[in-house]
């Protein structure tokens, strides 16, 4: 086993040498990573099939293609992203320059999860590389084939001085977390998230935690039932429900519930046929432990749809439970499997109350054509994100993706990943000239009321006043003025001026 201290020290030496700072170096590494994806797609699909019985389509759309798209976006925008920001100046800074630089943190740790073992590990890694950090990559040991793939391929494409893969289970990871990191990015369960956060305490390491929770789906009678059911069932069954943003439970009126159940049965047959076990498109549960946990959730329930399972294959049929009480086990923990419990309420207000009585989820889903109710839910509940009239798809936008409360802290995707791994260092450039020093001399002792008044005048805020805009307008105005004068002069003396 690799010594974590040695690994971190190597990376730290590389970082201190300044190797990862030039944007050309970062682009070179990112392009190599892109080649890794493009040249090894089949192997990635194979690893995902081994670990999770992931179908080709899911593996492509949610892992390989997803990674490639995000990476291409990073590569084409990186030169812009690294440019320092120029915030607007106020009157007091008229003679100064203001910048906000994007500094890399240093040596960062990225810990992936097992459900999307390649995507959830390497997407943040790409952002960390883009931001100029050195990275320790820790794939989840539970997705064995994927971890092996990452450990084998990364050293072949990326500079091992700056990016290394650390493999191991709980004891090895515990040892790794004792090292000093400048940033830790963790995707996984809330309980382990708390352990990571506690480990970060020693060196006050900033963290991003992408955790989970019970993401509710609210469905009312104004929504097109067939379409809504398809989208909800799809979101639930992708990766056999093992998705952090999978719709966890359904919340609706009794009427809607009954109609939904009927529709869902048909939708499932359309998706997977009469015996989903035979369908190549339905995933499997990642481990025996997780499988047993899910079987436990089904106990004491009579499924309205589904309910069959096979331990040998770790197969579980998409199942809908309608005989659910609020304190049943299936409503106490994140399902993370192909089981959809349904809880009934009388209206949107009750749904809001129910959702707010629980921990803040990673995402809230709202299926409704009633704009008022949709806004009611958006404005009165808190969640990492919200998706109206669909599931999962917000992951495909460039919006910040992350949790709140126990569902996580921090966010990423697109430029937000780069921002996550950059320290925003503000910089004020002042000059030592006579004018600046005279104006600023009111701050020095001996103090006086007059000095105070002058300072307040200099610091005063002018509503909507943008000095740059003001100067530009003045300049154009002056040009207009001079042009008019010039034209007048030419017209008055044109005979003389154009005398042949």
């Amino acid at each position: 086993m690799v010594n974590p201290s040695e690994m971190v020290q190597t990376l730290r030496n590389s970082f201190n040498s300044g190797k990862t700072k030039p944007v050309e170096y970062r682009l070179k590494q990112l392009k190599a990573l892109l080649r890794l994806y493009e040249e090894n797609t089949n192997e990635m699909l194979q690893a995902l099939a081994t670990d999770l019985h992931k179908s080709k389509q899911e593996a492509v759309t949610m892992e390989t293609q997803y990674l490639i798209n995000d990476l291409k976006n990073t590569i084409s925008n990186l030169k812009n992203w690294v440019k320092p920001e120029r915030p607007p100046k106020e009157f007091v800074n008229l003679l100064d320059s203001l910048y906000v630089y994007n500094d890399p943190y240093g040596v960062v740790l990225v810990m992936g999860a097992w459900n999307y073992p390649i995507q959830l590990t390497l997407l943040p890694v790409a952002g960390a590389i883009a931001a100029g950090n050195c990275v320790v990559i820790k794939p989840s040991e539970i997705a064995v084939a994927s971890a092996k793939f990452i450990a084998e391929k990364i050293p072949k494409y990326l500079d091992s001085d700056c990016y290394q893969v650390f493999e191991g289970g709980i004891p090895e990871t515990t040892q790794l977390l004792r090292e000093k990191f400048d940033y830790i990015f963790y995707t996984g369960s809330t309980s382990v998230g708390q352990i990571v956060h506690a480990a970060a305490n020693k060196n006050l390491t900033p963290v991003t935690l992408e955790l989970g929770g019970k993401s509710p789906v609210y469905l009312d009678k104004t929504a097109n039932l067939k379409v809504a059911t398809k989208r909800i069932i799809w979101g639930k069954c992708v990766n056999a429900g093992q998705t952090c943003v999978a719709p966890d439970y359904l919340i609706c009126t009794k009427d809607v519930r009954d109609k939904f159940v009927e529709c869902a049965g048909q939708v499932l047959r359309d998706f997977y046929g009469d015996d989903p076990k035979q369908s190549p498109d339905l995933g499997r549960i990642v481990s025996d432990r997780q499988f047993q946990r899910l079987v436990g959730l089904l106990q004491n329930h009579k499924p309205a749809v589904g309910g069959r399972f096979d331990a040998a294959e770790r197969y579980m049929e998409p199942t809908i439970l309608t005989d659910v009480k609020r304190d049943d086990k299936v409503m106490q923990e994140e399902v993370f499997g192909p089981i959809l419990p349904i809880v009934t309420v009388n209206d949107a207000y009750e749904a809001v109350k129910f959702i707010n009585s629980r921990e803040k989820p990673l995402v809230s889903y709202i299926f409704s054509n009633n704009k008022k109710d949709v806004q009611l839910l958006i404005d009165n509940t808190s969640s990492g994100g919200v998706l109206v009239n669909d599931t999962i798809m917000h992951m495909a936008t460039d919006m910040p993706f992350g949790g709140v409360g126990l569902s996580g802290m921090g966010s990423y995707h697109a430029k937000y990943t780069f921002d996550t791994f950059s320290h925003k260092k503000s910089c004020l450039y002042k000059d030592l000239g006579f004018i600046g020093e005279t104006l600023g001399s009111a701050r020095y002792p001996p103090y006086s009321e007059g000095k105070l008044k002058l300072l307040n005048l200099l610091l005063k805020k002018w509503p909507g006043f943008n000095w740059k805009v003001c100067l530009v307008h003045t300049f154009i105005f002056t040009i207009g003025f001079v042009t008019a004068l010039g034209y007048k002069h030419v017209m008055e003396n044109k005979d003389e001026l154009f005398k042949q």
């Binding site: 300044g18 179908s55 492509v60 203001l98 708390q194 404005d379 936008t397």
Partner: protein
């Protein structure tokens, strides 16, 4: 004689105020705030603006009380109180009030083609009940500054002023509640024990300003509920001076930064790095400048602050014996004042170089080049601020690229906090997170991405490619549709589309007339 202040506060005329007693337990206080938050009271813009106005009124009407309290706690002169605390707060309040309606609007990030028919918005949600813990060196600024951002963000706030500035804590606890909504904003006073107890309660955000060691305790407490935190800590903020700058102006700005609040400022220039030659010229200039600032003697100058406590006074006097005193070195234990002191021939492992000074002592370490200075700086923890005095661009760039710090100011000290448009915060041991201006609002709000799709046929038709049963065709089509392309071009695209429609319409009308 005491006058009772009316609920809507104005020229209070009260002396001999009783100890600000907390009538409720900490749990009850937080529960009341939580109830207020759940009621949705703090969400509307109007409410937030009213509260910000109330806070400004507090600062205006209680100015004399606050100035008096700061004189008691730190011997701070009125101008320093106004310049570095009250007026700064008022400027920030005004800017926040002016911009808040704009900040509250959900942001519309660029859309990709696949979301053409969708609504994509990022909302700024308040976190809920937040805890703001202040520090003793700027008891108003460092408590109420974050408070502004928290109110603007729509949160309910528990304020915990530092017990080491007791007069300021008492004044805030007594008067502030009269100007703000009492259910949503409460002040809780107390020492280490009370704060430890408070930290056991669940908050939705914690903002702490203070020392690194206490910062770790706050961070640890936050682990239990995974409460996000901003920690504004400290460190040794270095100043580098080369020989290209005017030494008098440079020395004046450095000494101003060092002497403010008798050096008890988190971003005070901690120690100076320069060549022997610059050191000599610096000390020459310093003598004149200190005379300019404080005249006859610092001890009798009304512009010179006290050290906050006996413990800190003793700690600082212990450092005076390091190296050699070039200027100052005198302390008055009765008044708890220490004269501005410059130490030379200091070694890197002296006490004065091992911990953050936080006092009016400026040690000088000799280096022969910018590179040497950078190597020295990068051996220690990342500081909160870095100051570089030079006219050379290559030297500026060397420091900017070769070091990491919370913030940097070139050719001045302290001034980067006078600008609300620059994020203010630390990195590494000097802290995490930032605030000031909109950054304060952003700190106290959760950015919730909202995607709104339609259930209609137009949106649903193309979705077939994602549903099982899967196929290679669906997979390929999916890849094509989601492949990264440039975002929908900017605002002008809309106009071009409209223009095109107009042209098409004209042709259409023509065709109809002819046909």
């Amino acid at each position: 004689m005491t006058h009772e202040v009316q609920p809507n506060g104005y020229k209070p005329f009260v002396i001999d105020v009783e100890e600000a007693k907390l009538e409720k337990t900490h749990e009850e206080v937080v529960e009341a705030a939580r109830k207020s938050f759940k009621s949705g009271k703090t969400k509307p813009l109007k409410f937030r603006l009213e509260q910000l106005k109330g806070l400004e009124k507090f600062l205006t009407e209680c100015e004399n009380e606050l100035v008096k309290a700061l004189d008691q706690d730190l011997g701070k002169h009125r101008q320093e109180v106004l310049m570095t605390e009250i007026d700064l707060l008022k400027h920030e309040l005004r800017q926040t009030a002016m911009e808040l309606s704009k900040w509250l609007k959900p942001e519309a990030p660029p859309k990709s083609w696949v979301n053409f028919l969708d609504g994509v918005l990022v909302y700024s949600d308040p976190y809920g009940v937040v805890l703001v813990i202040g520090a003793w060196n700027y008891p108003l600024l460092l408590l109420l500054g974050p408070f502004i951002g928290a109110i603007a963000g729509g949160n309910c706030v528990i304020l915990k002023p530092s017990e080491l500035a007791p007069a300021s804590a008492k004044t805030i606890a007594t008067y502030l509640p009269r100007y703000l909504d009492r259910d949503s904003y409460q002040v809780v006073c107390g020492g280490v024990q009370e704060t430890t107890h408070l930290l056991k309660i669940q908050f939705d955000y914690i903002f702490f300003t203070g020392s690194t060691s206490v910062g770790k305790i706050v961070h640890q407490a936050a682990s239990k509920f995974l409460t996000p935190v901003t920690l504004e800590l400290g460190g040794k903020s270095p100043v580098f001076v080369d020989d290209t700058v005017d030494i008098v102006t440079t020395a004046r700005r450095i000494l101003w930064g060092k002497c403010l609040n008798a050096g008890q400022t988190c971003i005070a220039p901690d120690y100076l790095l320069c060549s022997k030659n610059v050191e000599e010229r610096f000390i020459e200039a310093a003598k004149t400048i200190l005379d300019e600032f404080y005249g006859e003697g610092v001890k009798v100058s009304p512009y010179w602050s006290k050290i906050v406590s006996e413990r800190h006074y003793k700690r600082l006097m212990g450092m005076v014996s390091d190296g050699e005193v070039a200027i100052g070195g005198f302390g008055d234990p009765m008044e708890r004042t220490i004269t501005p002191t410059i130490l030379i021939n200091v070694k890197p492992d002296d006490l004065v170089m091992r911990e953050e000074i936080f006092g009016p002592i400026l040690p000088i370490i000799n280096v022969n080049s910018a590179l040497e200075a950078i190597n020295f700086i990068t051996e220690g923890d990342k500081p909160l601020a870095l100051y570089v005095f030079t006219k050379r661009k290559d030297v500026k760039d060397l420091f900017l690229n070769g070091t990491s710090s919370g913030n940097v100011t070139i050719n001045d000290t302290i001034m980067h906090i006078m600008t609300e448009n620059l994020p203010f915060g630390g990195v590494g041991a000097s802290g995490m997170g930032n605030y000031h201006g909109k950054y304060g609002f952003d700190t106290f709000t959760h950015k919730k991405g909202v995607l709104v799709r339609g259930l209609g046929a137009l949106t649903e038709k193309p979705q077939f490619i994602r549903y099982p049963p899967y196929s290679d065709f669906k997979t390929t089509l999916s890849s094509i549709v989601t492949a990264k392309r440039r975002s929908i071009p900017g605002w002008w695209f809309k106009w071009i589309l409209v223009f095109g429609l107009g042209v098409a319409f004209a042709y259409g009308v023509q065709w109809v007339r002819n046909g």
